[in-house]
């Protein structure tokens, strides 16, 4: 989801690079997704973005949501994910990315434009 920000290479996700990636949160790997077509957790939308893109192209109208929003805004899952990314960035001493993630965490707490 955030690959467009350019600071999340596959290596940075802390899992195998190359074609068979594994989600650090639920353990689903590329092969597993290709076999079943089902994801294991919300974070997989990021981990397997490359595999999901063709599904969107063939079956979806666009790649951005334009419908209903939960009243409480994006879910805590977003916060969980950012915390997870922050921990990984600090672990590999990538302080520049860590600072960007902290900025994003701060942005999330601002009121959303309606």
């Amino acid at each position: 989801m955030n690959s467009k920000n350019g600071h999340e290479s596959e290596d940075e996700k802390g899992v195998d690079s190359g074609s068979n990636r594994k989600c650090p949160y639920c353990g689903l790997d590329t092969k597993g997704f290709r076999t079943t077509g089902r994801l294991g957790c919300p974070l997989d939308y990021d981990t397997f973005a490359a595999e999901i893109a063709p599904v969107f192209r063939s079956s979806q109208a666009a790649s951005l949501h334009v419908g209903k929003w939960p009243k409480r805004g994006p879910s805590r899952f977003e916060a969980l994910k950012l915390q997870f990314e922050l921990r990984l960035a600090i672990e590999r001493q990538d302080y520049e990315t860590a600072a960007m993630i902290r900025d994003r965490m701060r942005d999330r707490t601002k009121p959303r434009e309606s």
């Binding site: 294991g40 999901i52 666009a62």
Partner: protein, 351 residues
């Protein structure tokens, strides 16, 4: 509310009322939702599934929901099949593993499957063509749950679902149509191909993976991301009236060009149902489909749609066994079904 009590009525989807109900059996909308703090079902442990059930049951309780919860894991095979036949649970939930359930209201118009493909599958069914009303009801229900549950939702991708084909709105908007006259023409395939081009899919009576049977078809959206709920509903409400009109025209054409053949077909179907001594559920459905068209065309005048709908639902295998009060082998069921049909037709005639 108990499951046995449901046998007393045909349920919302077969009520046979509502706009265009001679052709549109029912309108259905479902929303796929997942809780943010848990893996999706394929990676959820037994304890995750149990926690998901607890959170959703708490939300039902706290939102003063009129939906009663049933623990599908503890239900008998017969009760599970019974709920499938009433369109309250899917085959996937019936055959699933671990803690899972369904909650629904007394008139069966609203239901929530817990731990099916997604943590929640919220569904609203309305008799006839009533997608706007169905959307209003399900939107309100979703809002009420949302006050107590933290849904997995991303700004870019919307509601996150286990299958990427449901992500975004998580909505499936569908209508179930009875198209017996178009089914006899060669036009139906052409229409369905045209529908597929505008991202609408055609399925059988029990949804995904089932074949159309007895000229009953479900038409629903394929896209869920990149369009709003209202746009996706409109895609359907724009084309369904055309299909209804084509079916009406096909019925009139059949009546004017092949009245004798049609009358014969309908009367034979009616005759078999009234006199058979052993009959399968498949044959019953095909014949009832003919009889239903016969009533709508004025070829049968001593039976009404509500009565046909009652027979549709009650002759399905699990319903038949629930009414009879015991499980039966296929052969025994076929005899019982024929006996039940003969008895009901006598009742309808006031004998």
């Amino acid at each position: 509310m108990t499951i046995d009590e449901l046998t007393r009525s045909p349920g919302e989807w077969l009520k046979g009322s509502g706009p265009e109900s001679d052709i549109v059996i029912c309108s259905r909308i479902r929303l796929a939702r997942n809780l943010a703090d848990f893996p999706f079902i394929s990676k959820a442990s037994r304890s995750d599934k149990s926690d998901i059930v607890s959170q959703i049951r708490d939300a039902l309780h706290e939102s003063d929901s009129p939906l009663s919860y049933f623990d599908v894991e503890k239900l008998s095979d017969l009760d599970r099949q019974f709920l499938v036949e009433r369109h309250l649970i899917s085959r996937e939930l019936k055959e699933g593993e671990g803690p899972r359930g369904v909650a629904f209201n007394a008139d069966e118009s609203a239901s929530v499957m817990v731990n099916e493909e997604d943590h929640l599958r919220i569904q609203v069914m309305r008799s006839g063509l009533a997608l706007t009303e169905a959307w209003e009801q399900i939107d309100e229900l979703d809002n009420r749950f949302e006050e107590h549950l933290d849904y997995a939702f991303s700004q870019e991708l919307g509601y996150l679902s286990a299958c990427p084909t449901n992500v975004g709105t998580g909505i499936r908007v569908g209508v179930m149509l009875h198209l017996p006259a178009l089914g006899q023409t060669e036009q139906l395939d052409k229409f369905f191909r045209a529908l597929q081009k505008i991202y609408l899919s055609v399925r059988g009576l029990h949804g995904e993976g089932t074949q159309p049977y007895g000229d009953f078809y479900q038409i629903s959206n394929q896209q869920t991301l990149g369009k709003s709920e209202q746009e996706l509903i409109k895609n359907l409400t724009d084309v369904i009236p055309q299909l209804i009109e084509y079916e009406r025209k096909a019925r009139q054409t059949l009546l004017s060009e092949k009245r004798q053949v049609l009358h014969d077909q309908v009367s034979r179907a009616y005759g078999v149902l009234k006199t058979a001594h052993t009959i399968s559920s498949e044959e019953t459905m095909l014949l009832l489909s003919s009889v239903r068209m016969g009533i709508n065309l004025g070829l049968i005048d001593d039976l009404d749609i509500a009565q046909v709908n009652e027979l549709f639902i009650n002759t399905q295998p699990a319903h038949l066994q629930k009414i009879h009060g015991q499980t039966l082998a296929v052969d025994e069921r076929n005899v019982l079904r024929a006996t039940y049909l003969r008895k009901k037709f006598q009742e309808f005639r006031g004998e």
